[in-house]
């Protein structure tokens, strides 16, 4: 009778049996004199692009966050004024909370849908390639197309959802105008995002599922672990690396959620779906307040970094 914990055994098998030999001189595997400069040369294009299009603009944004600037005329240094305004900006605080709500709803939705699809396809014997392609297809669509499709589904005049509501004899309430109702708009937009990227998450989880050794399941079968118990005690823990990747990707993407909200609701109704990113856009391009917009961007970046790094730290701590 097998009495070992298969989870512990599986994770043990993933750890290298012995650490790499340490060098007595404390240096890396190659000495400095033998460093192959070709690699550095090959990195030049990437470094140029990184500095020019990411690092440079990021530092510039940080600089502009201390200015009053309309985006065209010369900026005026304003010290900490924008940051002081940010601390008392209720609208930005609400937008941050809405962003967190979006990120949470979409995260849960994407993980659940992606994992569900992956489990389904992992067990299926026929048509898996076609099903994978079908489920992944929305991730290949541009956000504008997705917004067009879901905008039609939700459209209160000619949409599918109001038509379904009418068919069910529901002539009033949120179902007749999901995007125009403060309590349902956030769920409606989240649904569109989940639909778009569930297939992407499915691929991540499928890879994770394929990497779980069959021996573990065989051992579990012998132990009588089946169904939900088998999923909860074996599959879910062994999917931790995949889950961690999926959570990171989802959080990093949705904490700066912009396009779907912008296209579907424009932040409405009455600001109910305004995310930090849509507010930043509005502050800059609609209100011509680029200085304060940069301040809002810095705050959002800091929040995103703290949450994503925190999540990674938490995940690595759990796995260790």
């Amino acid at each position: 009778m097998l009495h070992r914990n298969p989870v512990v055994d599986a994770s043990r098998s993933a750890v290298p049996t012995s650490p790499p030999p340490a060098r007595k001189d404390g240096r890396g595997l190659r000495s400095r004199s033998n460093f192959d400069w070709r690699f550095l040369t090959l990195a030049v294009p990437a470094v140029v692009l990184y500095v020019g299009f990411l690092l440079g603009p990021t530092l510039a944004s940080f600089f502009y966050s201390f200015t009053r600037w309309d985006g065209i005329n010369a900026p005026v240094f304003a010290g900490m004024e924008n940051y002081a305004t940010l601390l008392t900006d209720d609208r930005y605080t609400r937008a941050l909370l809405t962003t967190l709500a979006f990120a949470t709803i979409i995260l849960v939705g994407q993980i659940a849908a992606g994992l569900g699809l992956a489990l389904l396809l992992n067990r299926a014997r026929r048509g898996t390639a076609l099903a994978r392609a079908v489920f992944f297809f929305p991730a290949l669509l541009s956000t504008a197309v997705v917004a067009l499709v879901w905008g039609f589904i939700y459209n209160p005049l000619v949409g599918v959802m109001p038509a379904a509501a009418s068919w069910l004899n529901v002539t009033d309430g949120p179902l007749t105008d999901v995007l125009g109702n403060s309590s349902t708009a956030i769920w409606a937009v989240s649904g569109a995002v989940v639909w778009q990227y569930a297939g992407y998450m499915m691929v991540i989880f499928l890879v994770g599922l394929k990497s779980i050794p069959l021996e573990v399941y065989e051992a579990a079968d012998l132990d009588g672990a089946v169904g939900w118990r088998r999923f909860w005690l074996i599959t879910w823990p062994l999917l931790a690396p995949s889950t961690s990747v999926a959570v990171t990707i989802s959080l990093a993407g949705n904490l700066k959620l912009f396009d779907q909200v912008f296209l579907l609701t424009g932040g409405g109704p009455a600001g109910a779906t305004d995310t930090a990113a849509t507010l930043i856009y509005q502050t800059a391009f609609s209100n011509s307040n680029f200085g304060y917009s940069a301040t809002q961007s810095v705050a959002l970046t800091c929040m995103t970094v703290v949450i994503v790094v925190g999540q990674r730290w938490f995940a690595s701590r759990r796995s260790s």
């Binding site: 140029v48 009053r68 065209i72 409405g268």
Partner: protein, 422 residues
């Protein structure tokens, strides 16, 4: 040279080419344009006002041999596109942008060529020229004039015995009659899904108050007045709240876009639509004649309200144009009757060119009646109030904002703009 060195050299060459390519991404094509021969000039026009007339400059090309490339941008994307293109001073010769805060910002930054001495400005209306002035100098002019009012279904009004409302009580009574007697037709349709379209419920209240109190906008800017001092605005917000609470709006008005609302009105789903005269463009009513009247922001016994007009759709030549003479030639041609007629016919908007004969819509009669008395909307409305202000109507519409809070919100936005010195 051995294989290893060959690979090293090849890698360096590829890296250098890619680096140069990346560095060249931001380079301005101005130098190239300078070399362009004068006899093969192509002018680049960026704008948002020619979505239904993409070939409007063909006649200019035929007459002068100067080619024109039109880059039509969606109205809601114009601010970001304009920002990047002007910042980079890309290959643009003529820009079409909105009046008021947007035009002022770019004019202040020296975006446009000074045309104060241009004789062709006499070809367009005085209001159009005024819209293109900044700091006392002319940098452009409006190509079209727009008036804001209420579209209505004349056949439905007649069949229900409703007369054109001349005060707010009559307007509400008309709403009630439509709601109670026009089967399946909502009194009004709004398009709060695009918040800019909300502002036309208070547009003539702001314009009227500014005209009656000429110092008000300047006092707002200096902090000597607040939006709470604009009694017409608060009253209009209260009236709008009454409208929202009286179930007058078509279901979905909270999320509909401009084009949805236009289609709903044209399709007979709503009896009225508060919008500007540009709504005539592309309007295809299903078996009825749309009329128009000014939104009655007056109570019974008060003088009748008049419509408001917009300083919109300005054109100007960029100060860095590679072909300034040809660009000015195009700007002059745009004050010709040929262009004015083509714009009216194709775009469905009223041209500012004098002596135009072409109709801008088969339903223009009522709008023509509103134009002469229309009060210009203040062009110096600050950008944040202009940009975010319309969203407060959405708050009143869904019951999350009281009229008093909406006015207070206006004052918050104004304070932001004042701090920035707009």
């Amino acid at each position: 040279m051995n294989a290893r060195h060959s690979r090293t050299v090849a890698a360096c060459a590829v890296a250098a080419v890619l680096s140069l390519g990346a560095a060249g991404c931001g380079a301005s094509p101005a130098g190239e344009s300078n070399v362009t021969a004068a006899q093969d000039v192509t002018l680049h026009v960026l704008g948002y006002a020619f979505d239904k007339t993409p070939g409007i400059f063909d006649a200019f090309t035929e007459a002068t041999g100067i080619k024109v490339t039109l880059e039509q941008v969606q109205s809601d994307q114009l601010p970001s596109v304009l920002q990047s293109r002007v910042s980079a001073k890309t290959d643009l010769d003529l820009i079409n942008l909105r009046g008021g805060a947007e035009f002022n910002k770019y004019a202040e930054a020296g975006t446009f060529t000074n045309i104060s001495d241009a004789g062709f400005l006499a070809n367009v209306s005085a209001g159009a020229v005024e819209n293109g002035k900044f700091d006392g100098k002319s940098y452009g002019y409006s190509i079209s004039a727009d008036t804001v009012g209420v579209f209505y279904n004349t056949e439905l009004f007649d069949s229900l015995g409703i007369k054109v409302p001349t005060n707010w009580d009559e307007f509400m009574a008309a709403n009630a009659t439509i709601r109670d007697h026009a089967d399946g037709v909502a009194p009004l349709v709004a398009s709060a899904g695009e918040s800019w379209s909300n502002q036309y419920y208070y547009h003539n209240a702001v314009a009227t108050f500014a005209q009656e109190n000429p110092q008000f906008m300047a006092d707002l800017k200096s902090g000597d007045a607040t939006w709470a001092d604009n009694t017409l605005l608060l009253r209009q917000f209260e009236r709008f709240q009454g409208l929202a609470e009286s179930d007058s709006f078509l279901t979905g008005s909270q999320s509909l876009k401009y084009s949805d609302a236009q289609a709903a009105f044209a399709g007979g789903k709503a009896a009225m639509w508060v919008m500007g005269s540009w709504g005539l463009g592309g309007l295809t009513p299903a078996g009825f004649t749309p009329g128009a009247f000014a939104l009655p922001i007056n109570d019974a016994g008060e003088p009748p309200a008049v419509a408001s007009s917009l300083s919109d759709k300005i054109v100007g030549v960029t100060s860095w144009s590679s072909h300034p003479e040809e660009a000015l030639q195009l700007l002059e041609w745009m004050t010709s009757e040929e262009f004015g007629n083509a714009l009216q016919e194709g775009q469905g908007v009223k041209s500012t060119v004098a002596g135009i004969s072409a109709p801008y819509s088969e339903f223009q009669a009522d709008w023509d009646g509103l134009f002469p008395d229309a009060i210009p909307f203040p062009a110096n409305l600050a950008p944040t109030v202009n940009g975010e202000g319309p969203a407060v109507i959405g708050g009143i519409l869904n019951g999350t904002l009281s009229p008093a809070d909406a006015v207070a919100r206006f004052d918050e936005l104004q304070a932001t703009d004042n701090k920035l010195g707009y």
